[in-house]
């Protein structure tokens, strides 16, 4: 007898062989310079239900460059597993041709040259075109937004998320879940959520005082599409009060709460759901573990860790779909649901090549209208770059190297710390650096750049604490960011060791001396989770530094030695 898992594995195999997920076939077409919108969108409609997934847009309304990481280490059971495969290894794993459009979209390596050839990616007007095309084929497709939408740009900061709400509303999502949205502060989040024409979901969003489900954020919503009863269960980022400032949304509590997730799955099944979709902001490895513990979820639409995977990953009978970040991708998942069970799927991760996909005129006009009041501030050129500026990577990226340099220089510090966030577009050599570009990698509601004294011992405690949030072998103890970026100090890290033993050989770079645990060092940083942090905003610090430099060149950073990867 053929089990349902066998059916799903047949779907996986068909997807790979026929190039239904697109990457192999389109890679060759793109290499021949024939990449067209029709090819990017080509999809043989399948089954009776379509899901459209966007996530982690980080307020990127306009096309951008976005370099994927070359260092993304997996630990424990996820060592060497996707999404912890990068560059040439990633291309080999998925059969992506070097130099192809999918090489450029999905992996690192030759980024500068390919960026010049293939151009920018994303733009919500292009995303709108793709969504409309899918709806033309399947009018009742569900559009689901995984969150981190109302954060990450100049205009989003100035309008407290209103620009993103207005533009996203024009795309007509059916449901959304949350993370950085809460850093707008609970009052503003409640105001915006109260006006949404779609469901704001989170089975793990609780009232902190009573430890009961929050009334404003229902755990799930039932839909009926293509004759199928579908439950969409929301899963907000579990570690918001730890990774972000708890005092900004102290009324709320989160956590993974997988036992409550199981209860919700059982509840919706009892209500007749034939298809259970989890719209998640857990991060990929946490979603894999959750899928292995909770039974009855058919599809997890995964966000938070910004992974872009050309195929779903199958865990038990659950498929996990990862749709990238910054507006760079849209995932389409067609499902065949028969007799209350998901019997097969077809999936495509659609890269939004901005020069290939025609902008939707209405949404383009709306975006321009949202940006118009800030046009002068956005386009002001602050400097130029000779180097590729990017953020992604477990230990450093050139944007953060530059930000750390700015902190050391402008704040007269020994050591600089920049948070290991994964948002923020890239710039290619020769680009102007505008004020908008600086805000794209720094904008947040707690951007004050502090300057304080810390002992060498405390600096090590911080590094060990953050390292364990990334390299703890149990995904449930991972928060999904990257290592705090350090300027002015080098160190060695053995990721296989337990907390407290990973970091060694801490060295003050300007003197070459070992860090003394008992000595005080002047540390400048930003994005502190502590209430009452004082200092100039980080974007002003970075702007002042770039203005002085004129043209930015970032030297290769070899100050972190990684062992055990």
């Amino acid at each position: 007898m053929i089990s349902r898992r066998d059916f799903l594995q047949v779907s996986m195999a068909a997807s790979a062989m026929l190039g239904a997920s697109g990457f192999g076939k389109w890679a060759r077409l793109a290499a021949q310079q024939t990449l067209t919108q029709d090819q990017l969108l080509q999809f043989d409609t399948f089954g009776n239900v379509s899901l459209i997934h966007v996530t982690d847009i980080h307020a990127q309304l306009k096309p951008i460059y976005f370099r994927e990481p070359s260092v993304n280490i997996g630990v424990g059971e996820n060592k060497g597993a996707v999404p912890h495969i990068t560059g040439a290894d990633f291309r080999k794993f998925y059969g992506v041709e070097d130099g192809s459009a999918y090489h450029y979209a999905l992996s690192s390596g030759d980024f500068e040259a390919l960026a010049k050839g293939y151009g920018r990616v994303g733009g919500l007007d292009r995303v709108a075109t793709v969504i409309n095309a899918i709806r033309a084929e399947r009018p009742d497709a569900l559009l689901l937004d995984g969150g981190d939408t109302w954060h990450g740009s100049y205009t989003c900061y100035q309008t407290e998320g209103q620009d993103m709400v207005n533009v996203m509303n024009a795309l007509r999502p059916d449901a959304m879940t949350f993370h950085w949205e809460f850093t707008l502060g609970s009052a503003r989040v409640e105001e915006l959520v109260g006006g949404l024409p779609f469901a704001a979901l989170g089975q793990n969003i609780f009232d902190a005082e009573w430890d009961e489900p929050s009334e404003l954020f229902p755990p799930y919503k039932m839909f009926e599409r293509g004759g199928v009863k579908i439950a969409v269960i929301g899963q907000a980022f579990p570690y918001m009060p730890i990774a972000n400032p708890r005092w900004m949304f102290s009324e709320y509590s989160f956590g993974i709460r997988d036992e409550n997730m199981q209860e919700m799955v059982d509840e919706v099944r009892a209500e007749g759901a034939e298809l259970v979709v989890c719209l998640s902001h857990n991060g990929f490895d946490v979603d894999k573990k959750m899928a292995s513990k909770v039974t009855g979820i058919d599809v997890i639409l995964s966000g938070h860790t910004h992974d872009a995977l050309p195929e779903p990953v199958l865990v038990g009978e659950t498929i996990i779909v990862a749709s990238g970040s910054n507006g760079k991708f849209v995932s389409r998942v067609d499902l065949d649901v028969q007799n209350g069970r998901m019997m097969g799927f077809r999936h495509k991760l659609i890269p939004i090549f901005a020069d290939v996909i025609e902008p939707d005129k209405e949404v383009a006009a709306l975006i321009d209208a949202e940006r118009a009041p800030y046009a002068d501030a956005l386009k002001e050129v602050v400097g130029q770059t000779d180097s590729l500026l990017y953020r992604r990577g477990n230990f450093n990226g050139t944007w953060d190297d530059l930000i750390c340099e700015a902190l050391l220089s402008e704040r007269e510090a020994d050591i600089a710390m920049s948070p290991g966030v994964r948002w923020g577009p890239s710039l290619i050599p020769g680009d102007d650096i505008t004020r908008e570009d600086i805000w794209n990698v720094t904008s947040m509601s707690y951007g004050e750049a502090y300057r304080s004294e810390m002992t060498g011992e405390f600096i090590k405690v911080i590094l060990e604490d953050v390292a364990d949030n990334i390299f703890n072998p149990d995904p449930y103890y991972q928060q999904g960011g990257d290592m705090v970026r350090i300027g002015g100090m080098g160190y060695r890290i053995d990721i296989t060791k337990p907390q407290g033993e990973r970091v060694s050989e801490m060295t003050l770079l300007k003197t070459g001396e070992a860090i003394d645990p008992a000595k005080n060092y002047v540390v400048a940083g930003w994005a502190s989770v502590n209430e009452g942090t004082e200092g100039p905003q980080i974007w002003d610090v970075v702007e002042a530094h770039i203005k002085k430099m004129g043209t930015v060149t970032v030297a290769p950073n070899n100050s972190v030695t990684v062992v055990g990867a």
């Binding site: 579990p238 730890i242 989160f254 993974i256 910004h306 928060q479 990257d482």
Partner: protein, 138 residues
């Protein structure tokens, strides 16, 4: 720098003390368990212990314990200077052998629940709760 034999012995004693310390902390928890069980065998399973993987605030961590048919449940924070948190006793009129409270955790540690069943047997559950300084989430 040279060490005398006496220095070396002193260092050795220091090292032994360092490695011994965690056991001393656990010993207090083990003493509490022994006092609760009277030294009887404790089996894994049959106890639900709900706690966050990572505490949002180490000063007030919500914990829920339950064990169907339990007469009493001992709750311990094994890494706290004083591990004992509470012993919940359930009389015959209790609707369910289940209790929730909030506890303060001095740092990352295992929270342990031991249930005394109606037949006098004991069962346990344990969960690691991490207390972190936070920040930097992507």
């Amino acid at each position: 720098m040279s060490f005398t034999r006496r220095d070396t012995l002193a260092l050795g004693a220091g090292a032994a003390l360092m490695t011994f310390l965690p056991f001393r902390v656990n010993a207090a928890a083990e003493d509490a368990i022994a006092a609760f069980t009277g030294g009887a065998a404790v089996t894994d399973g049959g106890v639900d212990l709900t706690a966050p993987e990572i505490a949002e605030n180490g000063n007030t961590v919500p914990i829920e314990v339950g064990a169907e048919g339990a007469a009493a449940i001992l709750l311990l924070a094994t890494g706290n200077p004083t591990p004992g948190v509470a012993t919940f006793t359930f009389g015959p009129l209790a609707g369910a052998s289940r209790a929730a409270t909030r506890i303060r955790l001095a740092g990352t540690q295992d929270v342990v629940a031991i249930a005394k069943m109606a037949d006098g047997s004991f069962a346990r559950a344990s969960k690691t709760v991490k207390v972190t300084i936070g920040g930097c989430g992507g």
